[in-house]
Amino acid sequence: MKILIAEDDLISSKILQKNLETWDYETVLAHNGSAAWKALEDEGLRLAILDWMMPGMDGIEVCRRIRRRKKYKYTYIIIVSVKDRKQDIIAGLSSGADDYMTKPVNFLELRARLKTGERIIDLEDKLLVIQRQLKDIASRDSLTRIWNRTEIDKFLCDELERGHREAKRPTGVVLIDIDHFKKINDIYGHVTGDQALLQVVSRLKKKIRRSDKIGRYGGDEIIVILPNCGQPQIERVGDRLRLAVGKRSIKTDLDTVLVTVSAGCATSELPGTGVADKLIRAADRALLKAKRQGRNCVVVAGQDHMPEQERKNARFS
């Protein structure tokens, strides 16, 4: 493990380095506070031994700065100092240090204390992994692994807000519903229904940009949020998604089923759709129209028409 030694006294620094390297630590040396602060930009430095008294920025200030920074993993800090009064030790620990040792350092003790530091770092890392996993579980739909409704709503709100800040940056929403999904479930069973849904999601995912977000909005309703997508583009996008699903049949473990989708589209360019729920409501109304128009088609809110060719192709499925 890599460890920072911030110590202005050359002899102290060399003795520390020798011992730490004997114990298989990789050492990084800094001879003043500013150099220590700079060295700590390296995210691989998780352990730091800071001398309190150093020229310029002292160890206590370096410690305070480490604790104030964000986006960095935890750094375990041991302050070393000749200051051995109770109030010094309290002040050292109050600056955010994990441990405090008085000079001259007893190296058997230091080694044991560094082991404690490594244990804390290990626990912190495990905790972060679990936190990430939990966040992921809480943000995704359990079947399809695409974003869940809460996450999608949050993303849409953020995107609309961004759109307000950056002029001419509309947000598009495509609400997709699998045609006659209930029938699929009733005829082929729910296992086949689930497999069909997974295939639909997989096909849709291949047709969206990296910046787009796809989520499960309801039972068989899927939503796609499209940043920087306005009225002129949304119909083409919606139709691309529709065709991606319905162009060829889906093979499940038991059967081959032809699945089509209907799509309702809306963009924030439409008057009165600047907030998330209104934009989704507009897309939902468009989706309802698509269903009424015969399914397997796309309706854009504010345009309310289908491309002529698609209208001809549209059929019940």
Binding site: L10, S12, I15, N19, K103
Partner: protein, 124 residues
Amino acid sequence: MRDSANPEKLVPIDFCSVLNRIGGDTSFLKELLDIYLQEYVGKKQLLEEAIAREDFTQICELGHSFKGASANLSLTRLQKVAYSLETAGRERHLQSAQEAARDLEMEVQTLKAFLAGNPLEKLG
């Protein structure tokens, strides 16, 4: 008679303690002692200047620095003298600072004379 009976007076360095701190590496200890003596030359100059202009903050800092380096190498007598120097600086006592500076120089010369007898080779 009392002096010669006191081992601390005879040997300016506690070898057992310092070697314990650096894993018994005598050649590394020699390197550290060389650094100590080299650094002393520069610090001595700074100390003389600080005393001349009665810069007690600088006297205190130099005393503190000597104290730390001496403690690291278990130079027990030098550590005590350095502490006197630091205290003199903190208490803004010129005469004590001058005395401590003289004692410091004397102790460094004693250390040099001791090291000239190659005690580390005898240990190694």
